[in-house]
Amino acid sequence: MQTYLGGELDCRRATVSYIYAARYGYSGDVLHNDNQIRLFPREGEGQDPLRTRLWTLPRGSGVEYGDRFGNRVRRTRVVEPHRSLIVATSGQVSLSTRAPQPADVYLDEVKGLAEGMEFVMPSPLVDPERVSALAFCVAGASYSLLEVAWMVTDWVYREVRYGRGATNVATTADQVASAMEGVCQDKTHLALGMLRALGAPCRYASGLLTGQTGETHAWAEFLHPYEGWLGADPTRGVVNPPARDYVKLAVGRDYTDVSPVNGSFLSMGTAAECAAIASVEFGETEATLDDALRLLEGAYVVRNV
């Protein structure tokens, strides 16, 4: 866990600088590439973006808007023929170092909340019905929200092996439950399915882990009637972590709502490879596009996507 706070005077806030870069390679010329990019830090819940920048290579034209989950989205259409598309972003974010102090409540108290209605229903990758037996085995005896959140998070953290190869971006929660192996995205989907099966509204959050260079991260958030959305990270085995742990980029019902770059392209070829990397440091350093491109050179490349 990070303890260095970069000489901050206000120990309740920490400022971090992040870079995220991704490259998509194609086997043929792409004539147009239309994408919705969700790579801007969210505002609120202990997180305040100070400055954000986004580039695409080749350059495209775009508009910005908020989606229905409150994520800031840039829609960009690149119409210059290209064989690889680079999306890069950087910025500084001020994060709260303190976690909320939620009171425990009965699970029934969150069941009727209008805000959570959408987040107990099935979504494309998470069908609560298919993991409900498992959920009741693990936490069916609990009636309180925090206890359920803890039990599910802890169970997924301990029982599901962390590993790649068994899953991909389209793996559903029930498939994770039978493979019992996966990356942060899969663990999150399984935890979401179990929490929803128990009646707790919860959503998928994606972002970057602070103080690290590597991949993007994903975790769950469950709805608390007084404190709003609280984190539950089944990859790290933590419930209610402080905002300081992450740069939160997007939330949704599951991965399909928050994928960082999502769209369609027109080409005789196919998508051939993909590489992405993120870095978050404490402190206020201004990163340029060149910094992002340098960082991208060290990224792990996935071929034949």
């Binding site: 004539l31 147009h32 919705q36 495209g60 034209s61 775009g62 508009v63 910005e64 808007y65 908020g66 989606d67 229905r68 989205v73 829609r75 960009t76 259409r77 119409v79 023929p81 209008a114 209605m117 959408e118 229903m121 099935p122 979504s123 494309p124 027109l266």
Partner: protein, 463 residues
């Protein structure tokens, strides 16, 4: 032979029949056609229907569902008659709507629009960010407009959909009316049918958009296997403008668009395009358009307003841009991304029509009351999982009309809608062509689109 014998079952399909009143008496403006039908009798009617079908086949009056399957466009030749007083309302309503939508598009791309929430309009598949800051020639995005209406009875017409990208059907309107008048002259006797001139209207509109005296215009088609290729060919003949495919055009070094012909390459001033994905058909065309080297009909980006979700805000567009209240009602629609609307939809799913936001031609339209239990459950699951892809609309009990079933030798009642076409020229003048294309749903159904197997019907406005 009497009409009651022709109309053997006369089972009510809708609460309102175009043809007869609730007591089964033929309405006044259909009396003369009804008499002609009785005079002809079922044998002669069936014979004429067969002859007309043969001509449809021979003339390649087609609408392809499967590109490799030659398919004559199915038609019913009993005309639909719209009384002049109904038409005045439709015409004024369509004009108003077209003007307001065009104003909205101008503000959306080159100004500030505050009517439709950004998360709605910016996610539309046919919103093109690269058009931002661009004002189309003479300020017209939507030159050719097709609006889908249904008649609820007594002159109450309700809008179901706007078609703003490459609306098709006007040649079907023309061809069915033209064939009906030649093959069934007795139907037209005693009617004062309102005339219209599509050729003159289109060519004047094309000229008004160009700065040159006599512009070079072409019609860009997606080729002879496209579903509405008949219309492309027919309009090219009617307007006297060359029919070109993407491969016939190229963008020259000077940025202008040229057509390759046997003798020389000819610079093109205006492209009446009947394809949506222009990049695929002609790389560089969009840049030429944005550089004002060529005029496109309709403009790139007009589709942002034909998204079925953006449709919800059309009445506000009319109020805000024209300071008028909407003359035509529109089907009450629900935004599934709105929490209250979504709850209403989920609770009342069985009574609604679910439509894919960006579907067209009846694809992705689910009339829930007409579906089976299992099919309904599948759609319900789909909209819960992907609320951003769908909208919900009230199910309307719209009018039916008599259709002659030549196999049975009898008349039967089937639902009809009405697609009306209007054009807007460079001076902002709107022309609505009297009549339109009446499309007939399959027996018992509500979906009328030709892509879903519906029939065309000649349509007259009479004084």
């Amino acid at each position: 032979m009497s009409l009651s014998q022709l109309d053997r079952e006369n089972r009510a399909v809708s609460a309102f029949s175009e043809w007869q009143d609730s007591e089964g008496r033929v309405r006044r403006h259909y009396e003369s056609i009804a008499e002609a039908v009785e005079r002809l009798g079922p044998q002669e009617m069936a014979r004429r229907w067969g002859a007309a079908g043969r001509q449809v086949d021979f003339d390649a009056f087609t609408f392809y569902l499967d590109p490799r399957q030659y398919r004559p466009a199915p038609a019913d030749w009993l005309p639909r008659v719209i009384p002049a007083e109904h038409w005045e309302v439709i015409s004024a309503g369509v004009t108003q709507r077209l003007k307001a939508i065009n104003r909205f598009l101008l503000d959306l791309y080159d100004g500030e629009q505050t009517i439709v929430p950004p998360e709605v309009v910016f996610t539309s598949r046919y919103f093109y960010p690269e058009v931002q800051g661009f004002r189309p020639p003479k300020g017209v995005f939507v030159h050719i407009y097709g609006i889908d209406l249904v008649h609820m009875g007594e002159g109450r017409y309700v809008v179901l959909e706007d078609n703003l990208r490459i609306p098709s059907g006007i040649a079907y309107q023309l061809k069915t009316a033209d064939m009906a008048s030649r093959l069934f002259p007795e139907f037209a006797q005693g009617y004062d049918i309102r005339p219209y001139d599509i050729r003159q209207g289109y060519l004047d509109m094309f000229r008004s958009l160009c700065d040159v005296e006599s512009p070079v215009c072409v019609l860009l088609t997606d080729g002879k296997f496209g579903s509405a290729f008949f219309e492309h060919r027919c309009l090219s003949d009617l307007l006297g403008i060359p029919l070109v495919e993407g491969a016939d055009l190229y963008v020259g070094n000077d940025g202008r668009v040229y057509a390759r012909t046997l003798d020389r390459d000819i610079a093109v001033d205006l492209i009446y395009r009947r394809v949506e994905d222009l990049e695929m058909f002609l790389p560089g065309l969009r840049e030429a358009y944005l550089d004002r080297k060529v005029v496109l009909v309709n403009g790139i980006g007009s589709g942002a307003a034909d998204d079925k979700l953006v449709f919800l805000w059309a009445p506000q567009m009319i109020e805000s841009y024209l300071g008028e209240t909407a003359i035509l009602e529109q089907a009450k629609s629900y935004n599934l991304q709105d929490a209250a609307d979504r709850r209403f939809v989920i609770e009342n799913l069985d009574m609604l029509v679910i439509k894919a936001r960006q579907g067209y031609g009846g694809l992705g339209v689910y009339v829930m009351p007409d579906l089976s239990e299992t099919h309904r459950a599948r759609v319900a699951r789909d909209i819960i999982e992907n609320p951003e892809v769908f909208i919900a609309q009230e199910t309307l009990d719209f009018s039916d009309h008599m259709v002659f079933n030549d196999a049975a030798g009898a008349l039967e009642r089937r639902r009809v809608d009405l697609r009306v076409f209007a054009i807007q020229d460079g001076n902002g003048n709107v022309t609505v062509f009297p009549g339109g294309l009446t499309r007939v749903a399959l027996p018992g159904g509500r979906i009328t689109n030709n892509s879903s197997g519906g029939l065309c019907k000649p349509t007259w406005v009479v004084s």
